[in-house]
Amino acid sequence: MTTPLIEMKNIEKHFGPVIALGGVSFDVRPGECHCLLGDNGAGKSTFIKTMSGVHKPSKGKILFEGKEMNFNSPRDSMNAGIATVYQDLAMIPLMSVTRNFWMGNEPLKKFGPISIMDFKKANEVTMAEMKEMGINLREPGQAVGTLSGGERQTVAIARAVYFGAKLLILDEPTSALGVRQTANVLANIDKVRKQGIAVVFITHNVRHAMAVGDRFTVLNRGKTLGTAVKGEITPEELQDLMAGGQSIAKLEGSLGGTV
């Protein structure tokens, strides 16, 4: 077993009197897809936001590549090699694919003291990277708004990988997508994992998690209900854990096992 790329130890996060996270431990290894599951309000978003530097944990330690980290902003975690793709904030639809892809990392060309954006390089790289991920753009100047939801997630994933992310956090990348687009995004997650990048995949869809996950951690009411390895847990058990145990049995009974 390889050593973990990131280790979160007993992370607590309090918002005033509210305890959003009550001591969550979690780790991800390179080349592994670790699924973080949980119902709404379980603390998934808060948890990944402490990982990506948006929130500072109230208590607990974050070890990245064995070193203790103290992220003060998303920029800090990004510099360390953690990239987060948010479900609805992945892309800016009004801007072109190239402009989105390079946003915050624009390639520059210098003319004496003045530097301008190197659009030739930016466009070439964008086209090549998109092709790699199975998206054929008409032209790099095409607005992101013309892409489908799955393609937008894919552009965001490709961007993170291109800029050297070691840890990729995907916040519900498949929750708003259709069947085929979901399959595409899951295939791309698999591709990224095989390159040796650690992936944290947040979802509340057990089937999507089962499709690509190596390990599964279930969060409920700010606490972990445990971590399971692929093959040692059935989708039904995972589903029950997520819903907090007993209640799902009743629910499933009335729905005929379709949830």
Binding site: T84, L94, G104, S115, I116, M117, N136, R138, G145
Partner: protein
């Protein structure tokens, strides 16, 4: 595999579908219209051209600032009041206090840019809409301007700037003309009419390119370059398109917005300085409604009111349309109140056209 549902788009269509298309169509329409109704009125003679070029250039100067600010997702409704304020400050410093004109101009620029920064600071720190914050400054600055003019001179108009600006090195940068030799040569060739009487006999009726026009062109080129070619331009789009998404990838959204508020104030100050140097006086009511005129130019030019999308060249064409319509109705002898009717109509038509074009480009529903 190419997606069979994406139609191949011809080069021509691709060249046509751009944010400025509405403004280009509007400009062509306006020129054709006035060529037909006012073609023989002198509107397209050299002095006529100079007339509407200067007016358009005035609009363009403030439109460039307003355009970049609007693309970052903010408004500045204090542009007009800033123009009046800057003019009065220059006049008080130079005429009343006897400062050298160059020092008065530089000091005024510093004050205005600082006020722009204050606007930006308040918007960023409070998170209030810039519409409200700058609306407050519309009143604050206009009130201060009138009060300052009255307590120093008991009048709302301060004259005498022309006399004190005589021989100043900075004033001609805002008020003079360039290429006078070329225009004299044009006149000698018979391309431009010359005065046939009076003390300027033999001189061309258009003596050169006014500095106001030079400023406008300079700002348009700078703005377009900044927006489309630089990294900062990408940040301008990103800050207006989705500030949170931009922050998550490390774009300094607050700094971008702040700088654009300052740049808008700078543009208003250029407008004010050029006007004061040209008229030789400052008045407390100058710049009235200019904030809305700037916004109209920007919107005709294809920018999205909510930010994230727009074009500086489009805004400049919007300014050209504005200037040509305003002066064209004067040349054609039409009732001047019709100007507003015409302008409102153009605004609606341009915005409808722009909305369609934008949807085509960005895939919005």
């Amino acid at each position: 595999m190419t997606d069979e549902r994406v139609k191949q788009i011809s080069k021509f269509r691709q060249a046509m579908i751009r944010p400025e298309l509405g403004a280009i169509a509007g400009a062509v329409l306006v020129f054709v219209f006035f060529f037909m109704i006012a073609g023989d009125s002198g509107m397209f003679a050299p002095s006529g051209i100079q007339n509407w070029t200067v007016v358009s250039a005035q609009f363009a100067i403030i439109a460039v600032g307003a355009c970049l600010l609007m693309i970052t997702g903010e408004f500045d409704l204090s542009i007009g009041s800033m123009i009046g304020f800057a003019g009065i400050i220059i006049a008080i410093l130079s005429v009343q206090w006897g400062w050298p004109v160059w020092l008065a101009i530089i000091t005024t620029f510093i004050i205005c840019i600082a006020l722009g920064a204050l606007n930006g600071f308040l918007v960023i720190k409070t998170g209030l809409p810039s519409f409200i914050v700058t609306l407050a400054f519309l009143y604050i600055l206009r009130g201060l301007t009138i009060w300052l003019a009255i307590i120093t001179t008991h009048k709302t108009i301060i004259g005498g700037v022309k006399q004190v600006a005589e021989g100043d090195w900075l004033a001609p940068v805002f008020g003079g003309t360039i290429l006078t030799g070329l225009f004299q040569w044009f006149a000698d060739m018979g391309l431009i009419d010359t005065y046939s009487r009076g003390n300027r006999i033999g001189q061309p009726v258009v003596e050169g390119v006014p500095m106001l026009v030079v400023w406008a062109l300079g700002l348009i080129i700078f703005g377009q370059w900044l927006l489309t070619k630089t990294r900062f331009g990408n940040w301008i789009f990103a800050a207006g398109g989705d500030p949170q998404a931009a922050r998550y990838v490390g774009v300094p959204v607050n700094r971008v917005k702040m700088l654009m508020f300052m740049f808008t104030a700078f543009c208003a100050c250029v407008f004010a300085t050029a006007q004061v140097i040209e008229f030789g006086s400052a008045a407390a009511d100058r710049g009235l409604l200019k904030e809305f005129e700037a916004i109209i130019c920007v919107v005709i030019g294809g920018a999205l009111l909510t930010g994230g999308y727009g074009s500086v060249v489009g805004a400049a064409l919007g300014a050209l349309i504005f200037g040509v319509v305003q002066q064209g109705l004067f040349f054609s002898g039409a009732e001047s109140s019709l100007f507003r009717v015409f302008l409102g109509t153009i605004l609606i038509l341009a915005v409808i056209l722009n909305t369609y074009i934008r949807r085509m480009i960005t895939g919005e529903r």
